[in-house]
């Protein structure tokens, strides 16, 4: 029997892709006027389920009821008619168009001459924006002039313009600052109170407890459990997600870093308009966290030091003064950088896992004169690191494209471990990675610093992460380093205050 408050009911839905059962008899209900979190590691089936609801895929078996009626969501158009709106993680707005043009893209109101009726379009857009009580966005703003958070809101307005009864948000906060996230949550709560059913997908458990009413945990294509949030806690959810007891998420040794050996000293680093007179030191065996709000410039510090921004900084590295003109200088100086955007700046997607891993050390597996690669030697090296980092891949020769985000990140870390730089720099090392892989990566960072005595810089916007792994935290505000907080003094409140410039 269907209760009248179930805006969506999914019964025993299955979906198989060649070689894998993506969804296995999944049951899911969404009440009217609730925010329902869906969590799970990468590959757990969350996005497959959402894509079925949005009409991107069709399920193999099972039934879907929307507002009590059985539905066949054959394509995205049908989904829209049925009142399902999906806001993707990647923003899909046309950058050089206005807010109103984006909201009504493809269904612009027309006047009697068949031309776009701009006035009416802008009026309608303004009405929709006003519903969210959003005062800073105007229909004739160009998208490129808006912040990421504002663009996110435009996406939601666009989704709402279809008058949906179900709104699905796929990781809406991954690019937002804390303040912006708060703003978004206020909007979502208001929408919930109008009776909308909201599905909220995120990797950030903390947000779920702030915002959501119920949570559904998925694992291996199955629904593990649906819980009411005030009856559970973060620890339980993590254990449900991973299917095991993960009690040491971070490495909690109050490590003793002897503040002796400075291996990297940066003085007066300036990137016009972005960074101003940044100076700091990194010691051997130390994990240095650099954090700030999005756009504060904290992520630019490692990039500048690695020579991939438009400055050529002079640094003191391993006791030598070096000018870094390009990444080649940085590599020679013993620096390594894992960039934030895996697909854009890290991976070679059409190449195999093996070839992605060995790029930095090819000279080590080749004959010197003609630089002829010895394939056996190369494969052995790759296999060694696949085992060492526990990378889940069918073989070293599988395309890196097929791996999950966490395993792709491990491939990149393996690449740098092979290179073995003295100073490792990471920007957002665990973005978009599931809890299990996150924990593993934290353990590696810790191990690299402690046992091999390297220096590590982690630039991250994830407060939890920075607090959890750093020996020392540099807080960046508006291109300036505003504080240098040792682990013993670091609390969430203090760091938050500093990165907000207070």
């Amino acid at each position: 029997m269907l209760l009248d408050y179930d805006v969506l009911k999914v019964c025993a839905v299955s979906k198989t892709f060649p070689g894998v059962k993506a969804l296995d008899r999944v049951d899911f209900t969404l009440h009217r006027g609730e925010i329902h979190a869906v969590v799970g590691q990468n590959g757990a089936g969350k996005s497959t389920l959402m894509k079925i609801l949005a009409g991107n895929y069709r399920c193999d078996s099972g039934e879907i009821y929307i507002n009590g009626k059985i539905c066949d969501i054959a394509n995205p158009g049908v989904a829209a008619e049925l009142g399902v709106a999906l806001v993707h993680q990647e923003l899909s707005l046309a950058q050089f168009r206005t807010v109103a043009e984006n909201i009504f893209l493809g269904r612009e109101p027309v006047n009697r001459f068949g031309m776009v009726d701009r006035d009416r379009m802008n009026r309608n857009a303004l009405e929709l924006i006003d519903r969210l009580e959003e005062a800073n966005i105007f229909p004739n703003n160009h998208i490129e002039d808006l912040s990421i958070a504002e663009q996110q809101i435009v996406e939601i307005v666009k989704a709402l313009s279809l008058e949906p009864s179900i709104l699905i948000l796929d990781e809406p906060t991954s690019a937002l600052t804390l303040k912006e996230t708060e703003r978004l949550f206020t909007i979502l709560r208001a929408l919930r109170d109008t009776g909308l059913g909201v599905v909220f997908i995120t990797h950030r458990l903390k947000e779920i407890f702030q915002l959501c009413d119920r949570i559904t945990v998925m694992r291996d294509g199955k629904v593990v459990e649906t819980l009411t949030l005030n009856e559970t806690d973060e620890h339980t959810v993590v254990n449900l997600m991973t299917g095991q007891n993960l009690d040491s998420y971070f490495v909690h040794d109050q490590g003793t870093v002897e503040p002796t050996d400075v291996i990297l000293a940066v003085a007066g680093l300036t990137l016009p308009g972005k960074l101003n007179d940044v100076s700091f030191q990194l010691r051997r065996g130390e994990i240095l966290g650099i954090t700030g709000l999005l756009g504060s410039g904290h992520d630019l510090i490692p990039r500048c030091i690695f020579g991939i921004e438009s400055v050529k900084p002079k640094v003191r590295c391993l006791g030598r003064d070096i000018r870094i003109r390009s990444s080649r200088d940085a590599l020679r100086a013993g620096l390594g950088l894992v960039t934030e955007n895996r697909k854009d700046e890290g991976l070679f997607l059409k190449m195999t896992v093996l070839k992605n891993m060995t790029l930095l050390v090819l000279h080590r597996v080749s004959r010197t004169l003609v630089r002829w690669i010895r394939r056996k030697k190369e494969a052995d090296l790759a296999t060694e690191y696949i085992d060492l980092l526990n990378i889940a891949t069918p073989s070293a020769n599988a395309p890196v494209l097929n791996l999950s985000g966490g395993n792709q990140q491990k491939v990149i870390i393996a690449r740098w471990l092979m290179k073995d730089p003295e100073i490792f720099m990471f920007i957002e090392p665990t973005r978009g990675i599931d809890v299990g892989a996150k924990s593993e990566i934290y353990h590696y960072l810790h191990k690299i610093a402690r046992t091999s005595g390297k220096g590590i810089i982690v630039s991250s916007t994830e407060l939890q992460e920075v607090l959890g792994i750093s020996d020392r935290i540099l807080t960046v505000y508006n291109g300036h380093i505003v504080d240098d907080i040792p682990r013993s003094a670091a609390t969430e409140e203090l760091v938050l205050t500093r990165i907000n410039g207070r």
Binding site: T242, L337, F348, M351, K355, L362, N390, N397, G436
Partner: protein, 332 residues
Amino acid sequence: MKTMQSHTIHKLPRLNSLSQRRLSKLVLPSVIVVLLGIIALTTPRFFSQDNFIGLARQLPILGLLAIGITPITIAKGYDLSIGSVAALSIMTTGYIIIVTDSLPLALLTGVLTGALVGAFNAVLIEGIGLNAVIVTLATLTAVRGLDILLVQQNYYTFTEKIRHLGLLWVGKGLVIGIPVSLIIFTAIALLLSLVLGRTIFGRKTYAIGNNEKAANILGINTRWHKGLLYVLSGAIAGLAGIIALGRIGVVTSAVAEGWEFQALTAVIIGGTSLTGGIGSIKSTVTGVFIIAAIGNLMTLNQVSGYYQAALTGFVIIIAVLIDKYLSKRIQD
């Protein structure tokens, strides 16, 4: 190790699509080969020895041009200038042969001519950062203009003198029954194939084609590397020009026109993607065989030149469509 956690084991990737990819890469050439096979069977003269020798002499020129642009295409660059470059090399080689009567010097000149134009492209594209398609199209037009100018200035009226024995040998000669030009082509194809497939230089080429930004961050000097690939493609176009001169023996201003598109068609049909990062010399050679066979079959079946041109155009469009479809499948 304490940090090992077994939970990642159960999430093996969705499917090993490499084998699927290999399969889909082979689909296009296979379909064409089967179609051509059927046409060939209905064309009796196709399987004659004369025809094969003709094919074997014709193939190396297109073949060299195609394998020459394969590395730069893999690195996601574009070189459309090679037709005019080959023509220019025909002019300079011919001029040096007339003036000095020295084959080695003429060969060197032809290759250097191509390399120089390649270097010119490289400076504009990788040095200054101009768009590769536009620069090489401009070079194609500009060098063609130069070619016409040189012919009109009557530098090459001594056509009979270009029938230099050594040059004829390069273009038409046989060694134990195998055309010299085919031997040269095979040697260069093998060499390039090894460089691309087995050396660090080759690996870097693929890396750049996959993700130039990431390659740069890993310390690969992408601009220098791609610059070298433009020089290489120019130099090999120069070599193709020399062989063409030996085969044709006369210089006209319209020589080698449209060769760049035939070569590009061969590259794409073979399976090298215009989106970069995928391809090989082996696949280009397959593409060259297909293009040469299409041309040969059309000639044998007395298809008029106009239809041949139209058909080649359609083949390019179909090849690019399939390229797009396949790379989209890989993205998914």
